[in-house]
Amino acid sequence: MDVLHNLAFGFEHALTLQNLMYCALGCTVGTLIGLLPGLGPLSTISLLLPLTYSIPTGGALIMLAGIYYGAQYGDSVSAITMKIPHASSIVACIDGYQMTLKGKTGLALFTAGVSSFIGGTVAIVVLSTMAPALGEVGFLFGPADYCALMLLGFFCVSFVSSGSLLNGLAMAMVGVLLGMVGTDVNSGTARYTMNLPFLMDGIGLISIALGCFGIAEVVKNLDNKNVLTPFNGKIKLMPTWPEFKRIIPSALRGSVIGSVLGILPGGGPTIAQFAAYAADKKLSKYKHEIGTGCIEGVAGQAAADEAAARTSFIPLMAIGIPENAVMALMMAAFVVKGIQPGPNMIGTHPDLFWGLVASMWIGNCFLLILNVPLVRYWLSVFKIPYTVLFPAILFFCCVGTYSINNSLDDIYTTAVFGFIGYLFLRLDMEAAPLLLGFILGPMLEENFRRAMLLSRGSFTVFVNRPISATLLGVIGVLALWQTTVFILKLIKSPDHHIHTDGHGDAASKAPAPATAAASSGALASGE
């Protein structure tokens, strides 16, 4: 009953007129921006983050969360109608787009909407029961355990986002190094500042995020010169009763898978949707139809996507460690507002925590009643040609960077990271692990130094503590597995050379995650 009491407390805070407005605004703007090609949740949040600075804390967090799941829904809409993949909607491109080809766009969109609602609802139950309990576990964590958890996060994120451990890990390390720029907290030494005064406080997160995700993406789209054909088909939303009945089991299955995978380090929407899709392929009553455009192929993954997006808040709020790049951005937003996420957050800011949890469900309702029926109007965004859109995106990047410190100099930093981000993109280096590394870098250093201080310089502390030993063990298994797979491939191929099967082409994102699909499928079946 405690949970119900807490939830009621949360609704009390979330259901003020002002917060409702922020929630609706976040959902709507998030959906609109998320629809645009090349703008996934990460770029949408970094573009819109500065808008929340002038809003009171509770409202700002609620609006940001709204932007996040709004952007996710927008992603799946563009995936279903036009087969534009984003990180969080790769799977929706498979069956969703097939349904569009069959003329069932409306049904696919409705299925995605309802399944997201179911997934979100299940996840909120998990969130409100698990987060306080996990917060208790958070108190058991020592510095060495935090280090091990962050390292595991790097490994898992590298694995999920780029499909290749080596690439992702390298980017996370580059991120950690970038996080070192600025004044060292322990000694006051200025590191890597090149004697530039504005680097004393470190590089701005928004500059990195907007450079790598905003500007680099714009240039990539311009390089590709691809012309989008806007969606012009008819949309008939309401399904028949038998169709509706088919949504439920898949959506429930997806919700459970998503909720579980969302909590794990490095987890989140991307891996959850692949796992749910794989599960439906094995377990669904209509498994022979999956891949040809059937309801189950959309429902399961949409529910998992949404559920994982919610439960990935748990590690952030209970332990204080963001587990993927989106959560890292969320954490930055929390810190800007003067709140340190972690085991103490639920105790010290119960209104914010439970208000946020309640607003997630309200956001779900908004998505269902606002976005699903209005989707045909949202789609008119695509009638705007890209030549008109991208100057506007650039302008928002500039305003976003500027408004953090009211400093025009920051725009130069963003431009520099735009260039670096473009280089990374062309070298097929995923920027998401970099962002996570950047946020976790200073925390990793702090905890590493503390652990070393406590153990008097002996590395045994990482093995002696049960939590860190377990986490490091998982890392070891992952690394070993990857190496074995690589060596086996090498031995099996006749000329001892691995032929890339379209793996990791920067221009088309879809093939790279296909390998991730295989691996996450293996992960899911291994559990």
Binding site: L177, I215, L394, V399, L408, S455, R456, H499, T500, G504
Partner: protein, 142 residues
């Protein structure tokens, strides 16, 4: 040793980044493990990154080469328009900056139209005014 192989160039890039950060970290006090100075952790991380770089290069020998393709035109245009926007906003005002941003950046687009650019500029200036007066951002518009 192909500079046009994306995997190979990536490994070289990583090693270069590691060398820069690792090299500079020697300028700071290293200390010892139990009482580490500001230089120790960056040195550890860059060493790890260097190893990853070496592994990437080694791996690129066993994997089919992927061509490295890039065009410097678009990224240069976009960066120039950002820098121009910032400079103009600083020394003149942001309205002029917006106009420059629109007219310069659209050079990278597939088609160029003066009338359309005027319309985009007007629209963005309106948005900027809304930001300033409705959301309370302090933009140096005029």
């Amino acid at each position: 040793m192909n500079m046009n192989n994306r995997n190979f160039v990536r490994g070289l890039c990583l090693m270069a980044i590691a060398l820069v950060f690792g090299g500079v970290s020697f300028n700071y006090t290293l200390g010892e493990l139990s009482r580490s100075g500001p230089g120790l952790f960056p040195l550890l991380v860059s060493s790890f990154l260097f190893v990853i770089g070496v592994l990437t290069v080694v791996r690129s020998h066993f994997v089919d080469p992927v061509p490295l393709n890039y065009s410097l035109k678009n990224i240069s245009i976009i960066l120039a328009s950002l820098v121009g926007f910032s400079l103009l906003s600083q020394f003149v005002n942001m309205i002029l900056g917006i106009i420059f941003l629109v007219f310069c950046s659209t050079l990278a687009g597939t088609s160029y139209s003066l009338v359309r650019n005027v319309k985009i500029s007007l629209g963005l200036i309106a948005v900027a005014f809304a930001f300033k007066h409705l959301l309370g951002l302090s933009l140096p518009l005029y």
